[in-house]
Amino acid sequence: MKSNRIGTFLPLLFLVFLFLLGQILPNFYLRIIIEMAILGLFAQSLNLIMGYGGMISFGHAAFYGFGAYAVAILLRDTGMSLVPAILTGTVLTGVFGFIVGAICLRAAKLYFAILTMAISQLLFVLVYQWYAFTGGDNGIHGLTVSPWMTDPQHYYYFVLAVVGLCFFAIRVILNSPFGYTLRALRDNQERTVFLGAYVWWQKLIAFVFAAMFAGIAGGLYVGYDHMAYPLLVNWSKSAEPILMVILGGINTFWGALVGAVLFVIMEMVIGKITTYWLFFLGATILILVMFFPKGIWGYVEEKLAPFLARER
């Protein structure tokens, strides 16, 4: 792939900056950054299919929640430690994503969106009702992870490494021939078919990747909060990554992360002033959609275009 030096250099510089932050910031702020990183990965996993594949999923929390519950149940029942639990959870989420994707991709566009939402809600009902296995509406609490992980600073570095690797992997996927075929499908499905792409498989594979990365984010969340609860699977959770991607800028790579960071900041700042923070979130979305459809990072990227490699 062709990219100028700044495009690869800046993310590394950013990572070094985050590494140093881990040394100086107090735990309170590290926790916030952990949350941003986890949600950023969740948003990026959706961006993979929504921004680059043109597949609007309204049920992406199914995979975030599935990953979270898989890790939580593995921690509770098998005595696995966090890292193997997350790895196993990711594989399981991938299998689940394959099944869900195979069903949902029989439909396209809006029907696809509705199907993903319906299936995620099915999972929500299952999780909410199955007391013996998922703890029902109580969720699963009081999970133990290895003592080393309970220190916020240590967990900060762990999350940084995992999320960093995932972002790198997503970048590699997007810059591979597979990634470019995905963009081509988004822009003009008919022509891409004529060029010999196998649409269904192509989309399904992207969907499974997205599910797995969301599953990793869910697993990281369990390692952070030591619990899983039904709201992680709920449809309001599915809306969050969509809002983050739009907030940051759809069709951009870093928009998802920028959106997650802004989302967490907004929730903290506005949530402190008023209990009606969702009202302001809704109003913000309306304004963005109406007047700044490219999102905040999309706007910045446009201004920085002469200096940065634009990879769309």
Binding site: F58, Y111, I119, W235, L281, G282, M290
Partner: protein, 293 residues
């Protein structure tokens, strides 16, 4: 089990089914014509229920002021619906689907928080008028009059929508617009007006359902999302855009829930989604929908 018990279960199932249909019908109508998934449908339903409470409080909170609420609240949200369509949705029609979804989703957040701000977090009671609050004996079982009235309203709504869409000129235009917007406009029909009208009608129906359900439960936060998800399930089962499909799916889900409760407590929430899962696997476009790739 006595015959009267079975009758009781059937009436209970039909009542909840018809209430569900009242919500689902507006949702599927808007989808069928505008091709928009209206997430704010549930929020509008809740808003109308709150407005009905305030209307009754304004007229002295006597049970018989319910009729005023039934008249005013749906019209109020229909006006709101028309405003939403004109100012927020109309600029979105030539943008991606995602942007339209986001607008209706953002509206959920705004409307829900607005109701919380205006009416507070406490549940509100809405009283039934005297004439509807009695019970009536039929075939050895006693039913609440209101249940029977709700079932009747559900069937009348279905009949009314069918007659409207199939037997009136405006109905023909609406169906033509849903089938092929470009050609319909080329024939000199103002689809902008049709879209506003349909969205407003959808809001009116959501409002009507909200006011109708208010006396059965309390008006409270959260009533929007629970009904919206059930209504979505019904719309998906019946086939998106199909009003008849939504009607049959509502009856199926209503009866299934009330009979299912006999055997397994707690199946009520899951039943709807289990049916939906089965339908999705067999026919992803729903019982009466058309496959669109």
């Amino acid at each position: 089990m006595e015959f009267s018990d079975i009758l009781d279960i059937i009436v209970g199932g039909l009542t909840s089914g018809m209430l569900l249909f009242m919500v689902a019908a507006g949702l599927t109508l808007v989808f069928g014509v505008l091709r928009i998934i209206n997430f704010s449908h549930g929020a509008i339903y809740m808003l109308a229920a709150y407005i009905s409470y305030s209307v009754m409080a304004l007229f002295g909170n006597a049970p018989n002021t319910y009729w005023m609420a039934l008249l005013i609240a749906p019209i109020a949200v229909a006006v709101l619906g028309a405003l939403i369509e004109v100012f927020l949705l109309r600029p979105m029609y030539n943008r991606e689907h995602l942007m339209q979804l986001l607008v209706t989703y953002a509206l959920v957040l705004v409307i829900v928080d607005a109701t919380k701000f205006l009416w507070g977090p406490d549940p509100k009671m809405v009283l039934l008028p005297d004439i509807l609050s009695g019970r009536i004996a039929i075939l050895g079982a006693t039913f609440s009059v209101y249940s029977l009235v709700l079932i009747l309203i559900g069937f009348l709504t279905m009949a009314g929508l069918w007659l409207f869409l199939n037997k009136t000129k405006l109905g023909h235009i609406i169906r033509a617009g849903a089938f092929d917007p470009e050609m319909t406009e080329a024939l000199g029909i103002n689809l902008k007006f049709i879209y506003t009208f349909i969205f407003s009608l959808g809001a009116w129906m959501a409002g009507l359902a909200g006011v109708l359900i208010a006396p059965l439960t309390t008006v409270s936060q959260g009533m929007d999302s629970s009904v919206l998800l059930d209504a979505f399930a019904v719309v998906v089962i019946g086939g998106m855009g199909s009003i008849g499909g939504a009607f049959l799916a509502s009856i199926l889900v209503g009866l299934g829930n009330s009979f299912g409760l006999l055997w397994i407590a707690g199946i009520a929430i899951a039943f709807t989604f289990i049916v939906m899962a089965v339908v999705l696997v067999v026919r992803p476009w729903g019982l009466f929908g058309r496959p669109i790739k």
